[in-house]
Each structure stands twice: as C-alpha cells, then as structure tokens.
Symmetry: C2
Subunit: 528 residues, 2 copies
C-alpha cells in the first residue's frame, strides 16, 4: 500500500488543524501573489485562514482577475470536487455529485418519456487496432498478460453494434432505443476538473431505426431534449446547431451540438447528438428484414451529455462570491440561518426555524438548516453564497417577535437582494419563496442571454472575424468555404466552427471568407 500512503506530517497537536486546506489558505493572501501564498500554505497555513468563523473563509480568486484560478478555487471552496491521486483524475464530492444527480433525474425522465430504456454494456471490450490514441488499455488480468488487450470504455458504439447485430433481425425489433449512465475513460493530456478528465461520467444513448428519416428525427429530438434541459433547468442559453464537416464525430453523418458561452466567453460543447447513418451497421453487419422481406442495414443515432455540464453551470453563473446555482437544479434551494445572541433567545429562534423548515419542506422546497454553533452567521452567509444556494432565510429574535423572516437572493448582492419582514404565515411564505426561486431561475437565464448576445459579433469579413476572436468574442457570419479554409481559421485564430445554428437569419448570404453565396451562417469561437 506504500504508493498510496500519505504521511500526515502536518497532523500534530501543536499545529492548528482547522482550515488547513490549500485553496482557502492560498486565498487568504492577496490574489495577485497566488504562487507565494501557495508556497506558504505548503509549509503552514497563514493565520488569517485559521480564524474560525472568520469571513475570509472560502474566498476565491476574483473571477475578473483570473478566470481559470477562480474556477478551480470555486470547485475546491464549494466542495464540488477534488483531485484524485492519479494525474488527471477527479473525485466528485457529494455537493458536486448532487448537481449531477439533478441532471440525471431530469434527463432520465425525459429519456424514458421519449421511449428509451436504460441498460448496461460492459466497459471492457476488445482492442480495436488503429483506433484513437486516447485509450486506456488493460493488458494484465488476474495476474497474467492477456492475449488480447482490452480497451476501457471511451464510448460504446462498437460494443453496442456488436450486440445490436445479435438482437435485431426484423423490423419488429425496431426501433431499438437504449441509454446507459456510465463512466468513460479517455487518456487526455491537459485536464481540467469536470471539463476534461481522464475519466468522466455521462449518459450515452444509442438507437437503431428502420429508416434514415426516423434516425434523423431521433437525433434532432435528443438535441432538442438537451436544449430544453439547458434553458429550462440549468438556465444556460445554449445555441443548438449542426457541426461542420471538420468538427463532425468521425463515425457520424451529422453531429448536432449545443454550444454554451462560459463567463470568459469561451465556448463549451455541452452535449451532442449524432446521426450515425449506416456507418456502424455496415461495419458490423447490423441488418434487419423489412416488412417486404428485404434485408437492410439499420440507421442509427447516439447522443451524450456528461459531468462536463457541471463545469458549464459553474462557468456560466458563478461570480466572485462563488458558485451560483439555478434553483431548479440546486441540491439545496433555501438555507435557513438562525441568529441569536443571548442564551434565552436560542430556543425561541430555533422553534421558528424548525417551523419554517417544515413549512417549506412540505411545499416541496429543498431546504437546509444550519444551526451549528461552531460557525458565526457571517461565516455561514459567505459559505452558502460560495455554495451558490439561491435563497437564504435569516431568522433572529426580532423576526420571531414580528412573525416574519429576512429573505436574501444569492443573485442580487447586498441590501438590494434582501427583503425584510416576509411573513411566516405558511401560505404567504411558501408563495413568496416559490416566487423568488422562479425569479432567480428566470433572472439567471436572462442575464446569461444578455451576456451571450452582447458577445456575439456578426462578421462579414475574415478581418472582422479575427478582430472579434481577438476580443475573446464569438463571431457569426455566412460561411461556405472549404474545410481547408476552416482549418486555416483555426490555425490563425484558435477559433473553430462551433456550429451552424438552427436559427438562421433571413435573406441571401455571402461567405465572409470567399465571397461566394452561402446557405448558412456559422458561429466561430475559441472553446474548451
């Protein structure tokens, strides 16, 4: 076990144990000298970070100063994830996993409503020579060198087709529509928590149909499910569209995508749906007898959303105070913080807290009470802001007397987001809180739409595109140039075609690169 042994050298009674964690310690120092602070943290935690109940707890690099540092700081401070012991791996902590569970709960219902069943394909499959260099290979099993190397699942099209070939004989076996929630492994060199890790969690849908039209309809239906999820649940105004030939999945005829603009204006491919045509069915001989007795190859789709989406939520809504969660996918929608000073106030405050908690729970609101006496209310305010909980309720002795509570919105900082004297009367309180949660949900979406739209530039020349990209923005313009031109843009600007959006402007278009007629506008951007 030697390789996993971590000697707890800092653990001795003479050293303070509290707030020994690196991110908090690092951020106690000025944001501009992060590396020094980190070095210091390695030796002993600066005093500021050890103050129990101190308001500096859990602070992060300001977003405007360093977006990437802010992102990893938020992940640590909000306890969303941690690094695993193997390079590039990630531990998804309970709070981060609860967001993933919210994503699963919504999509799982939608997948079933649209006729899909969950199942499970093994993750170890035969190695396919000459396949992607991103694979992890098992070469030793049960202490012996294996005759055939096994691939650890990077995606499942090959094994799916292997089995579909066995299960499908007749048109009566179609459509075959399945999904699995699983882990996948890809040997990525540059990793980033949630966004790109050696292993991640996703769902992969796989369907087989009797006709091209059905497969196309399915691929479109699923990108539509993803789009609605992004807008309505995650408050992320993704742009759905079709990938360019260059960016289309190697096994697909068409790849549909939802593209999201992160807080640093980079694009995140947040979900994809592929019309695979007959590419896999021809390679694997996946055939069926149609109603006329003809043997045909099936038409297929596959589609996926992954834990990367959690990264997208962080980078869309978060601010300097930390994470900001849309109420519909927030594991905790309301946190109640009791406030008292004198001992005799405690019982009466906690009684009200308990009653308010019950009222909200019964109304189906996800609520948490933090009545710990180890932390100050100020510490708790910061802590739950960092965790992105949409609404905070404060209850003090005066509130109890007035039969009211104080309600604060996470998305509106300071006094402006605070409402005093909200009645504890059950029906009034429940309506008020439900209303606020809806307001926040709508407001987060609207804010993200405004941000997105103010950062997309319509371009009519390559020069304009270069300028827009140099400013970190997205460029949208008519495009009918060659794959070679597309690759040239990538080389010269680092921007790629994110998609041909489904929503297209009216009128005739001229390719901004070649001046030739163009059918569609494309969106170019730098991306994760």
């Amino acid at each position: 076990m030697a390789s996993l042994l971590r000697l707890p050298s800092l653990l001795s009674p003479s050293k303070p144990l509290l707030r020994r964690r690196l991110p908090a310690a690092r951020l106690a120092a000025p944001a501009t000298s992060r590396s020094q602070a980190s070095a210091a943290a390695g030796a002993a935690a600066p005093a500021a970070s050890e103050t129990r109940g101190g308001d500096r707890e859990g602070q992060v690099t300001p977003r405007s100063v360093d977006f990437n540092a802010w992102y990893t700081d938020v992940i640590a401070a909000a306890e969303l994830a941690d690094y695993g012991p193997v390079r590039g791996t990630m531990v998804i902590r309970p709070y981060g996993y609860a967001i993933w569970e919210a994503i699963q709960d919504y999509l799982n219902v939608k997948f079933k409503e649209t006729g899909h069943s969950n199942m499970y394909f093994p993750q170890e499959a035969s190695h396919v020579e000459g396949f992607s260099p991103e694979l992890a290979l098992v070469t030793i099993g049960g202490g012996k060198e294996l005759e055939e190397k096994l691939v650890v699942r990077p995606t499942s099209e090959t094994i799916v087709n292997h089995m579909f070939t066995k299960w499908i004989q007749s048109y009566r076996d179609l459509p075959l529509m399945i999904n699995q929630w699983v882990n996948v492994t890809r040997w990525e060199m540059r990793t980033k928590p949630f966004i790109r890790t050696l292993e991640f969690l996703w769902q992969e849908g796989h369907t087989a149909h009797a006709t091209l039209e059905e497969a196309e309809k399915e691929a479109m239906q699923m990108i539509d499910v993803y789009t609605k999820f992004a807008y309505e649940q995650a408050a992320i105004p993704v742009i759905p569209g079709r990938k360019s030939r260059v960016e289309t999945f190697a096994g697909a005829n068409r790849t549909y995508t939802i593209e999201a603009m992160m807080g640093d204006k980079k694009a995140l491919q947040a979900g994809t749906s592929h019309n695979l045509g007959q590419n896999f069915s021809r390679a694997f001989g996946t055939q069926f007898m149609d109603e006329n007795g003809q043997i045909e190859h099936v038409w297929q789709t596959s589609w996926a959303i992954s834990t990367r989406f959690v990264g997208g939520i962080i980078m869309t809504h978060g601010d300097d105070a930390g994470l900001m969660l849309p109420p519909r996918i927030a594991p905790i929608q309301v946190v109640i913080v009791p406030i008292w000073k004198k001992g005799d106030e405690k019982a009466v405050v906690l009684e009200s807290v308990d009653s308010v908690q019950k009222i909200l729970k019964e109304a189906g609101i996800r609520v948490k009470v933090d009545d710990s006496e180890l932390r100050t209310p100020g510490w708790k305010f910061n802590h739950y802001e960092m965790k992105g909980i949409p609404v905070r309720i404060e209850i003090g002795p005066r509130d109890v007397t007035n039969n009211s509570v104080v309600v604060s919105r996470r998305d509106v900082p300071g006094k402006q987001g605070k409402e005093f004297g909200v009645s504890m009367d059950p029906s009034i309180l429940v309506n008020h809180i439900k209303g606020r949660l809806e307001d926040i949900q709508a407001s987060l979406l609207q804010k993200a739409i405004t941000f997105r739209d103010s950062n997309i530039v319509d371009v009519s020349s390559y020069g304009e595109l270069k300028e827009a990209i140099a400013e970190g923005k997205w460029a949208r313009g008519p495009w009918s140039a060659s794959d070679a031109d597309e690759l040239k843009v990538k080389e010269e600007t680092s921007a790629t075609i994110r998609c041909y959006p489904f929503e297209q402007p009216e009128g005739t278009k001229k390719c901004f690169m070649t001046g030739n007629p163009a059918e569609e506008v494309a969106i170019f951007a730098k991306s994760y």
Copy 2:
C-alpha cells in the same frame, strides 16, 4: 474494427430470420438433449422455434431437470442479460436493468434517510503491490506504456482512505458518510451471469466515525437496511449474521452478511457490511482531532450490494415457466392482454383496455398493454409468464359486455390462479389489483420462508452435518472449533460457515465438532 466484426452468415433472404436466437431454438428440442439442440441452432433454427405466435417460444429447461441450465435459459428468454464479447462479461438488458433500477431506487432513498450522500471516486488508482490476484491492470494509456500500472477499481477502500485523510481533520468533520453506485472489475475465472462476472455494478458505502461504537452501530444499521430490503421488497428471507474469522473480509474486524437460500438450496451471499475498525485509517494515516484536542485514527465501515442480487431474485422465485418477480420490485406489475377474434370486436376491446390501463396507472400501478397483432394471446401469456410479471389482465368482448376483466396470478398456475368477472369499476378494480399484488408479495415471501426452513437441518455432530450437506441442505449447529476445523469442513464437504445468525437459539450449546462449550450456532452450506 476487425476483431469485433461479426459477419452475419445466417442473414440471407432465403433463410427465415424470425426467432433465430439461440436459447429459444435450443429449447425447442427436448430438454434432455440440450447440446444437440444448441449445435443445431448454430446451423439453422429448428422449425418449431420459428413459428410466429407458437406457444413453445421462450420455453426453458425445467428447473428440476437442470437448475444451472434453467437459470441461464431464463436469463436469455426473459431478456435479462446477454454475454458480452469479452469472456466473462455481461450485457445487462433493459428488463434486467430495470430490476436493478428498482433495487437502486429503494436503497438510494434508505441510504439518504440514514444520512449518506452519493459521490464518485475515480476508478483508476495506483497499483498496490502484492494485492489480490483478481485485478485488471491498465498498463498503456494514450498510446504509451505507463510508468505506474493502474488498477481498475475492484473496490474503493484504498482511494476512499486516501481522500478521507485529506478531508478529515477534526471531530467536526465526522461522521463522514458516503456512498457510490459504480462498476467494479474482478478477474474471475469461473463466471455466471449476475452472480460472478468480470465486471459488475454495485453500491459501496464508506463511512468514518469518531468512535468504535459508532462504526459498529453503522455497520449493523446497514446490514439491517439490506435485510429489510431483502424481506420486504425482494421477498427473499435472508438470514443476517456475522461471518466467521475465516470468511471475514481481509480488511475488516467484523463482516456482517445476509445469506439467501437459492432454489437449488445453495447459499448466496447477497450483501455485506464491514466494521473496518482502524485498519485502513492506520494504514493511511486517516486521523482527526477529537473534542479534547487528542489526535485519533478514525473508525470505519464499508458495505455493498451488487447486481448479484438480481441473480438471487431469479434463483429464489423462478419456476419452470420462467422468472417470477415480487410485485414491489417488478418493473411491470400488471400486463394487459386484449383478446378479440372478429374485426368489429377490436375497437371495443381496445377501448376498455385503454380505460383499464389509465385507471391502474393513475393508481400508481406499473402497467403495460400488449396489443400487438403480431403475436397470439397464447404466445403473450407464455411470454409474460417468462418475464415474471405478477398479474395478467385479459379483456375480451364478453368481458367488455360484462364490464369486467379476467385476472391471473403469475404465482398460482392454471385455473386456480384465475379470477373471472372482476369489475372494471375503477375503485373495485384498483382495490382488487392492489390486493392481489400484496397477496403475491406476501405469498412469495412465505413460500421462500417455508422452503428455507424445511431445508435447514439442526445438527449436533459432524456426521449429521455431512449428511445434511450431502443432501444439499444447510446445516445449523453449535460451533466453537478452530479455523483449521472450519477449513477441514470446507475441504471435506465443500460447505463453509455462511454466518453466525443474529437470531440464536436459547440455552447452553456444545460445539458439534469438538464437544466444547459453544456461544453460538453457525450455519454451514455450499454457496455460489
């Protein structure tokens, strides 16, 4: 992709495509010549198996003739699982996976109610030299030989402790109670679908506590959760108890288990809960500062239930007609089969079918209608019996006239299990069906208890134990002999101590092996 390519040599228009699947074909031949039938199926399917709507579809080897063949036949015919392309791997098909989802849904709620959070640990971890020979090792990643071999998760105690050491500093961080639903890989030589495969799905709970007492309480609480699940949901009367020293998990101080008796009287270890003491916390330096400022090692537990439990359900309740599912975990509780002959009967029957379906759905009953015209009612009866659906409702023209339906119980064969003239009146029908589902749930459990109890023999000598084991039964007797004696019993009879049951007979006991005083009785049995 060559290695996965399966040329569909049977797929030519001149050969019938329908019912080409192996299990059905195999079983069209007499059960006593299974291997011949299999060989035949490899060349061309026997005529009997191709009859569309024929009643022989989906029949299996009788359970009494060959329990193991019956088991694998049922898995194939009920479409629970299939073999993966790599030896020892299994594809869990939608119907089998839905049973696993029912298990997850129940346990997930119980885990959360008892204070656990879900999360996710990476499956690739550093190789631990000298560890179990059941490991799969990744040695190549991204096209390169890795400097350090990585283990594909066989269980997660090591990485859990690696992270716990990072997260736990103070008593305020305890208890830390988490769970993950994941795949695990063990290089098993002799595999059997659901029971023992190279890869399987499970949940693994991991907790850390400040005291031994708390850890012990937790370990007991979780084996109790499993016991209740087995009894109340799966209708499996498991015997909960403590493992012997020999059978205790290597890393645990105590292992608790639930042991189930399968239809062939072999024991199945269906879930375990370990009190790990400080074994892992000492190895990994997982320490905390207690309320008095003392540094202590945490006390831990881990506990797991896997897809093996699905195998346990099949082998507990199934019969010659196939699977038999307890209503509470049945993905489909009621199947409605419409029956009509003349064309003008169809519309009126289907209208009633639709209305009955809606009534039952609204009452929260999981119901499926099979109105396919490609299969006869007789075929459907057999098919849904094979799938173990607890209740079948038939609706024909005469039933519509009488405003009633026919209700058949899966667990009571033939006329006896059939009720005619059950009113379609919503409240009467819903009460009737709910009552029948409860009857079936209770009846399956009672049947399994009777079977279990009639096959446990109380023994007071080694000779009696040998006799009981030779008859395939379980032997229960006072035991205080040595580990060496326990291993001798195993060598001579193939039986092991399944557990010291929590429920112990009163009175003084004398070890049946040594004649010395004994504190407890132990249960010995052959096991999967």
